[in-house]
């Protein structure tokens, strides 16, 4: 893999995208992200939320006796004031797990895999993978994927570029619905362009060059 492309791949990894490489094609990389189908915010399958109300994992534990709350990074299993075992509750006061009754008792059930109690205890039945978008509350997700083409031009260029200045391979990105063409000029600035936005003329009108790759172009 070309070092320039590898560097680009790490840029996307650092920005929470998934990057795929095709060993038979060293010219491009695929960049993908699981997003909300409505607002395109990232979707995190590893983020836990309460099965009963949708509140996200607060990463705290609470003393059932005095109500003291500490972070889950705290290694103590018992409250140092009351000597009670901490529980791992949902913090939404409207959650059914926080109303007196059978549901609350069920969330405090100790299962055989984990002696911990509460909605967010390890192996709890009541915590699940993210079901509601963090931004808009929508319940469905999809992958967006772009094939990323990189062109390095040894000149300072304005936003007009002759198509012939691109390698023949990168000319393929033009008009392609799923492509993202990144042009890097000799000042180290980037112009990010969706393939379908570039008309198939001899002179390409590029997006503005910026110090950082404009990540928003991925979603256009």
């Amino acid at each position: 893999m070309r070092i320039e492309l590898k560097s680009l791949a790490y840029f996307f990894v650092a920005n929470d995208f998934e990057v795929y490489i095709n060993e038979k094609n060293e010219e491009t990389i695929y960049v993908s992200q699981l997003v909300c189908t409505e607002c395109l915010s990232p979707w995190y399958m590893e983020l836990q939320e309460c099965l009963l109300c949708g509140m996200v994992h607060p990463y705290i534990k609470k003393c059932p006796s005095c109500g003291k709350i500490v972070s889950t990074t705290n290694t103590r299993s018992k409250c140092n004031e009351c000597d009670e075992e901490f529980i791992y509750p949902c913090l939404n006061d409207k959650c059914p797990s926080n109303q007196e009754g059978n549901i609350r008792s069920a969330t405090l059930y100790t299962n055989s895999y984990s002696r911990k109690k509460g909605v967010f205890a390890r192996n709890s039945v009541f915590s699940t993978s993210m079901n509601f978008c963090l931004n808009c509350g929508n319940e469905s997700n999809r992958y967006i994927t772009r094939e990323v083409f990189l062109e390095t031009i040894d000149d300072e260029i304005d936003t007009n570029l002759q198509k012939s200045q691109l390698t023949k391979y990168n000319q393929e990105a033009i008009n392609r619905g799923d492509s993202l063409l990144i042009i890097k000029d000799d000042t180290g600035e980037y112009s990010a362009n969706r393939g379908h936005e570039l008309s198939d003329e001899e002179t390409l009108e590029l997006n503005e060059f910026k110090e950082k790759i404009d990540i928003e172009k991925f979603y256009d």
Binding site: S71, N92, A106, T128
Partner: protein, 318 residues
């Protein structure tokens, strides 16, 4: 013939469970390449083992062992489309007298994008099963086996050991309970049949519709709890009533409750707890943020401001 062994110098059985992951994923990849798919592997591990794509006729004229076609289908002249699949590969051996096969999927494995595909590879019989998340959930609904509502599945540690390879008939089944009536054929997902199903561009042409269908199937099963050894009937009924309410709840209410809860945390947790939540866990999630300033500090500042306001008022009065 699909699949074939692309590595004739080594018998798959020579690998043990600690060193076979790579070769088995490669076995699947090479076979898909031979079937005309472009295969990409992850640059940094994220849970998807391979992303594959192929240019096919939208009217399903492209044969499963044919390479990517050009811009037009040679059969019907339709504009071809590029289809993608996101593969999660699970490799296991069939075991025991009954040739049983099993694996673990957890709630976090179920996206609503129907292009997400589970690939189940039985290395000692060299069979590959391809099934999309949509087909997988539909299969369980059709046979009325509510595995995804069980506490075991929700706890994320339940291995489903219900696939069986019948050597005499050379057929694969999903099986539960006793008797022939509880054997459900998996032949349509196996090898070339599975490949044919995976290559069908129907979900790509109607992606939104299939995302919606997958979501509905998922919600139906995931937002339900079955009683059993873990819970008695009574709380389970109440839990299911609560889950039904959540299913029908306006999403703005869910967001409002999340916002109120985070506000409660900001106002009531100590600064070190907030710092730990933000810096150790929530930092990786966009749109999830807890303000770390200490509420006690804020109260102190408010109290000082109030005193100053009163003093100012008093001064104005004289």
């Amino acid at each position: 013939m699909f699949p074939e062994n692309p590595f004739p110098d080594v018998d798959p059985e020579e690998f043990h469970k600690l060193n076979k992951k790579e070769v088995t994923e490669d076995f699947v990849s090479e076979n898909l390449r031979n079937a005309g798919w472009k295969v990409s592997s992850f640059f940094a591990d994220t849970g998807i083992d391979r992303m594959i794509s192929k240019r096919v006729c939208p009217n399903n004229h492209t044969s499963i062992l044919e390479g990517s076609v050009g811009e037009k289908c040679p059969d019907c002249d339709a504009d071809t489309i590029e289809i993608r699949r996101f593969l999660q590969i699970k490799t296991r051996e069939v075991k025991g007298d009954k040739n049983m096969f099993g694996f673990t999927l957890t709630p976090s494995d179920f996206r609503t994008d129907p292009r997400h595909t589970f690939v189940l590879y039985s290395d000692n019989t060299r069979d590959i099963m391809f099934i999309s998340v949509y087909e997988y959930l539909k299969f369980f609904k059709e046979i009325d086996y509510q595995w995804h509502s069980t506490p075991t599945f929700k706890q994320g540690n339940g291995k489903l050991n219900n696939w069986r390879y019948d050597e005499s008939s050379d057929k694969w089944y999903f099986t539960h309970g006793r008797g022939r009536g509880n054997n459900y054929s998996w032949e349509e997902y196996r090898n070339d049949e599975g490949l044919k199903k995976m290559q069908n561009p129907e979900i790509d042409k109607n992606l939104e519709e299939y995302i919606e269908k997958t979501k509905s199937l998922k919600m139906e099963e995931f937002k339900k709890l079955k009683s059993g050894r873990t819970f008695d009937e009574e709380p389970v009924e109440e839990i299911n009533d609560a889950l039904e309410i959540l299913k029908n709840k306006d999403r703005s209410k869910i967001l409002e409750e999340r916002k109120d809860t985070i506000h409660f945390m900001e106002e009531n947790l100590g600064s070190s707890v907030k710092k730990s939540i933000q810096d150790s866990y929530w930092f990786k999630y966009k749109n999830l943020n807890i303000k770390k300033n200490d509420y006690r500090e804020k109260s102190k500042r408010n109290a000082i401001q109030e005193t100053l306001d009163i003093e100012e008022e008093n001064e104005g009065g004289f």
